[in-house]
Amino acid sequence: MTTADLQIQERNLFTDWSARATARAADAGEPAWALERRSAAAATAAAMSYPDRGDDLWRRIDFRTAEAGIAGLDPFAPGPRARGVDDLPAPVVARMAGEAGNAGLLVQRDSDVVLEQTHPALEKQGVVLCSMERALRDHGARLADTLGALLHADEDRYAAISETVRSGGAFVWVPDGVEAALPLRLFQWMDGPGRLSAPRSVIVLGRGARATVIEEQLSATAEGLALHLGGTEVFLGDDAKLVYGTLQDWGRNVFHYGNQRARIGRGAELQWIQTLLGGRVVKSHSYFDLAGSGAQAFVHGFMFGDGRQHFHLHTLQRHLADHTTSDLLIKGCLKDHARSVYQGLIQVSEGAQRTDAYQANRNLLLSDTARADSIPGLEILANDVRCTHGATIGNVDEEQMYYLMSRGLQRSEAQRLIVEGFFVPVLDRIPLESVREQLRDAIEHKIG
């Protein structure tokens, strides 16, 4: 097939998807402005080409398998509606660890949100938790100036496709001055290969509001490609405080592409935890805008790869106002033939005096064939700032091993304790004990 043929085929695919997505969305009551944005995104997708190695953000990752297989994927695979937690896939139920009643819950299965279970305590406070479809119907005005405000369809072709076939995702709204009484837990589940999931979520905390939101992405490993193209936008009003965890543990057949954006207002604080365990090839962009004076972002994350997993995490700490703080720690642990790339940039704009920015990337290699790359960067336009960054890549320390073994621990056990300890600074940030426990188990399982 010639390049021209391929382009025609791709254009036809996006036209077809756009038509089907628009028809579904119109049925679901999506407002005109959102429908228009879909068609515009489809045109953008058709006009752009897939990002290639000429793009600095795509040079170190290989998404060609996803590119080649995308036409065979179904972005509209329906998920069976759940009447309660019991109707959900067992791995999702297991993650709730019996605490489903102590949280606001939203569960997406393939393309559909199948369970929205808020809680009387949250409802009384005016906290909103619902699917993006319901939010577009019932809270259109609140979404008009948030959905797409930080994340644009022309970011790259995947972002454009994601917006074209957008389906599912969560809307969270915490009113001014309200401290959400319970944590909000969001789940995304894919039932098998052949799926393209494209949820878009928006989380808004009003002035002085507080909340904890944990998002988990899960699927069983299966034969055949599945693709996740997700996007999340987070808005913190002045003096708000959000603890947000996004925990990815897809099956090993999933290609993952995620865009996360956060805008942090005056005096507000974001505690961000991001963990990447699953997937086959994983590309994640997390950008933090410290938009108001005194805004703070604390970012803790890890990637743990085995087999032939390949992770690429890109972070951006964007200091747009004075007296802002960002403190970032990303850890990478790689075994077998796994590979990780951490690419992090601190940007300080001209007016952002008295900025305090920190970025650390620590990598631990458990085999000779694993590889970690660390690419830090600084762009500073203000003159009265403190910005530091540092990166390390190394093997398990032999002196640590000797010390533990001198206490009777077998080599494998000593290594397990050291590797588990490596993840602890990130795990410690996870607010729910049961979630922390599950992650600890997943790590232990992965260490083998």
Partner: protein, 267 residues
């Protein structure tokens, strides 16, 4: 003494990166005894300690180490530990993210649970000491060593002061109950209060079931721990051995006195 000493070091030669450090060292320590090994910097004291414990960097080029009658030269550090050997480190290693309690429970379980597998792949059963029993045991030992309870939840040696590190070593020794313990310059870098706590700990554990080899540069710790025998090490071998009075003599006359060819007595 009629019984065979638990630890017998015979004509031991050790090289590090091709350079010979121990040059035919012999020493015997039995349960119930406290030995002090003194020597100037560079005499090979820490090399001896780490060779006994099984540090992979130290290459034994000659001689033997017998523990309870068996050669341990082929054993890795973890096997030596489980056999009943212990070394308190001069510089304990920090393990960030691993709590003292988690570490100690794992170390105890390594002793309790594990039938030697010989690589046959049989998994040790995941049982070991019950959490409640462990907490009680740990609490008791920490109280004996005048350690704050919060110590258990801190990460092993991570951000510990010099005194805290040494106290943690003694705590490990107390829980692991070795038969022979080597204290590698445990007194270095300690103020007098910490030195007293550490010495009290060693004295509390010493007894008929424990043999101790105190390795030190200074006589100071021997004001608190009373050795039965004192050995002086110079240039990779024991140059002179004697009773407790030898330590005092060294203190007044310095190591040069031994270096300059004092007659060697049998250990």
């Amino acid at each position: 003494m009629s019984k065979t000493p638990e630890l017998i070091v015979n004509d031991l030669r050790v090289a590090v990166e091709g350079k010979e450090i121990l040059k035919g060292l012999s020493l015997q320590v039995a349960k119930g005894e406290i030995h002090a090994l003194m020597g100037p910097n560079g005499s090979g004291k820490s090399t001896l300690a780490n060779t006994l414990m099984g540090h992979p960097r130290y290459e034994v080029t000659g001689g033997e180490i017998l523990f309870k009658g068996l050669s341990i030269l082929e054993m890795e550090a973890d096997e030596r530990s489980r056999a009943g050997l212990f070394m308190a480190f001069q510089y304990p290693v920090a393990i960030p993210g691993l709590s003292v309690a988690n570490f100690l429970r794992s170390a105890l379980n390594a002793r309790l649970v594990r039938p030697e597998t010989n690589g046959s792949g049989t998994m040790p059963q995941k049982k070991g000491i019950a959490p409640r029993e462990f907490r009680a045991l740990l609490k008791g030992q920490m109280a004996l060593l005048k350690m704050d309870e919060s110590f258990a939840t801190r990460y092993l040696n991570d951000g510990f002061s010099g005194g805290e590190k040494k106290r943690a070593e003694i705590l490990q020794m107390a829980l692991l109950k070795p038969e022979i313990a080597i204290m590698d310059e445990t007194d270095s870098g300690l103020d007098i209060d910490a030195l007293r706590v550490v010495s009290d700990g060693v004295n509390a554990l010493a007894g008929p079931d424990l043999g101790v080899l105190v390795i030190t540069h200074y006589q100071r710790i021997l004001n608190y721990i009373k050795p039965h025998r004192v050995h002086v090490m110079v240039d990779g071998r024991i140059s002179v051995s004697g009773g407790p009075e030898l330590a005092l003599e060294l203190e007044t006359r310095g190591y040069d006195w031994v270096r300059n060819g004092k007659e060697v007595t049998a250990p």
